[in-house]
Symmetry: C2
Subunit: 416 residues, 2 copies
């Protein structure tokens, strides 16, 4: 992506440095209002990788995010700085299509690898909100629309292939974060690796069983190939419930630094996988009802919105080179059939990637917080085991669970 004009210009900014940096940008200083010494700078770093600060002045706030030369939570794990450049590029690529379903990019500094986006003061991180028993009935549908638009509009379904190729090419160079996905999500949980960990000994038998299952390994291998060769669209690449911020009637996708060309079902699968884990982790029947509702809403709205955009593009002769308009313009029945088949394939991918996400978040390197609400260790292990069994079945017996509807029925049964 963007290369620093001077590699030595990089330094990790502390609150005073951030204040000076923002003061030097007239548009950002105006957005904050008042004098720099009036601005409150508060660190809210929460993810594994980057420093994040919120800055407020008399007139408003901004969010400042900076890459570190290492993993934030593990200074020994060195890492190139370019991830915020990929996040800035992702925002530039999808914002025209998704509008207020993501944040506005206010500034990017390629020397400091520092990103300034709008501050979402009224919002909470969806994962934290769900863990606290909150309910955002509009959020899952909004994420469905986000994925539909961000992917359809960056695919050769909507674009001439030259434009799709030019748009996607820089993201294919997001090697550092894609390597994390390839290792931590798609590979390490399926063999002995020192980064893996789980509730042991409670889950030892379950982990050994899915690793030993050749049906699971064959399906995992297929999904590795699908992730690495099926370049349908620009993906967010890390669309879990921690990458979503919600307010009552406002839903925003953040943290696009993992953006890469890939199969659309990967974005869908990560989101569905995280809602499934919440389903197993949440202690209340209402929580479970909402989790099932959210998965259904997400999928219904993703599929509807994707189809609607596709139909509109063909009708306006603005479709891309895949399923080219001249073949389908005058045959709505055929268009409907190819759309359904395309989205059935995304559905199959979604279910498999959801299963991979569940397994890696319970037995791999980076776990999720959702299960921490279960303070009793045996109870927590039991819920994680139920989630792992579901994931195993999704991978080993895809023909038995071919649709999100079938998945919802099975998950409702298993989660109790």
């Amino acid at each position: 992506m963007t290369r620093p004009t001077s590699p030595t210009a990089y330094r990790t900014l502390d609150p005073a440095g951030i204040r000076a940096f923002l003061a030097a940008q007239p548009a950002l200083a105006a957005r904050l209002g008042g004098r720099p010494d009036e601005w409150r700078v508060r660190e809210v770093s929460d993810g594994n990788l980057n420093n994040v600060f919120l800055i407020h002045g008399p007139a408003g706030g901004v969010c400042f995010k900076q890459s570190l030369p290492h993993v934030r939570v593990d200074p020994d794990w060195k890492m190139p700085l370019d991830r915020t450049a990929f996040e800035a590029a992702y925002l530039r690529a999808v914002r025209p299509h998704v509008g207020a379903l993501t944040t506005e990019l206010l500034h990017f500094d390629p020397d400091l690898f520092a990103l300034v986006i709008e501050c979402l003061d009224a919002h909470v991180v969806l994962r934290q909100g769900l863990m606290q028993g909150g309910d955002w009935p509009e959020a899952a549908a909004a994420i469905g629309r986000f994925v539909a638009r961000a992917t359809f509009r960056t695919s050769p379904l909507a674009l001439k292939f030259e434009d799709a190729s030019t748009l996607l090419a820089p993201f294919a160079r997001n090697h550092t974060l894609t390597r994390i996905t390839v290792d931590l999500v798609l590979t390490d949980p399926y063999h002995a690796h020192p980064r893996n960990h789980w509730l042991s000994p409670e889950l030892d038998t379950t982990v050994a069983a899915f690793r030993a299952d050749p049906n699971v390994r064959r399906r995992v291998g297929q999904m590795q190939a699908r992730f690495l060769t099926c370049q349908q669209a620009l993906l967010h690449g890390d669309l879990h419930t921690g990458s979503v911020m919600v307010a009552a009637h406002d839903t925003r996708v953040i943290d696009g630094e993992f953006a890469l060309p890939g199969p659309i079902g990967f974005d869908c699968g990560l989101f569905v996988g995280n809602l499934l884990m919440h389903l197993f982790a949440t202690p209340t029947p209402q929580g479970r009802t909402r989790a099932l509702r959210d998965i259904g809403q997400f999928w219904t709205h993703f599929r509807q919105d994707f189809t609607t955009q596709w139909t509109d593009a063909v009708a306006r002769d603005q479709a891309g080179d895949a399923y080219a308009a001249p073949l389908f313009r005058d045959d709505p029945a055929s268009l409907h059939q190819v759309q359904a088949r395309f989205l059935d394939e995304v559905e199959t991918d979604t279910i498999a990637f959801a299963a991979l996400e569940i397994i890696r978040r319970i037995t791999g390197y980076a776990h999720i917080a959702d299960f921490d609400v279960i303070t009793d260790r045996a109870a927590r292990a039991a819920r994680q085991q139920a989630a792992l069994h579901l994931a195993r079945d999704l991978l080993a017996e895809p023909a038995r669970i071919p649709t999100i509807a079938a998945l919802l029925a099975l998950a409702a049964d298993r989660a109790g």
Copy 2:
């Protein structure tokens, strides 16, 4: 690809210019031997796009190929010069894996977009050789091995994804020639376009029928999407029988200027499609027997060689990130299953792309010469119609012809 150091340095070389160009390169001059005025320069331009000359001196020969700023056979169709740069890059990428199944790259000049490769004096173009009733019993198997090696070794089955991505990225910018494929192969033959032409009125009904068939159009749309989104490996991109040169025991793939990342079945399908057309065009029972044999040999050797390389890579722990070795190293039965499934998918693609190639070569812009051996117009139309009917069936009823074996049985029956 490579940019010219000075855009004004380009000029189309005539025989005298070629002589001076080669004389200025000591290694090339030494290969030719003697003095430049002893060298024979002979134009053999045959394809649609470029100038090609063979140069012979007392010690040996070379082949000189230069891009023109337009399509060679249509000076009004302007075209960027970079296609020989893609051909040079393709030779560099695959030659280490395929050895003498392609030609040696002797020199590339990025200012003149001029390529010098070894001269194949003992060889004929496979298409011309077949049309003259020749038989090269080893050629199809060699092409099968060529495709197996050129694709496996450039895929994430064999490479860490970073290496595959870095290798494939420049070829994703081969927009000019990929646009030709997207338009001429995948789109134009399925709707009214001024570039299309066919034996009219004899084939009018057949063309109207496949265009009106929604099963055909849906399958064509799917293959458009597959071509543009399934980036399994580096493809040759134009592997018809005119891109193969044969001698008694030597087979070479040439003309890699269409190289791009794509589905492996596209290279297989173009070759199979051209052999199928030869099957329908050849006037003798021996010719038909050989064409069927060659399709079978190509496919058997492609599939065997691809599988063998894959198995070896896993055994040596040199496999890539797709179907990662830790999952399959100790489970040969599962490896065998995923290999079979992967290659079944390539087989499905191969059959569909073969059908697209047949249709575009009989009803699109760029026809093939094979049918010209049938001097009687009605007989020629009848054979083309039979080939088109086969292609239609392959697209409209893929479940009926799921394998190359089934295709061979049907084609043998139809070709008589």
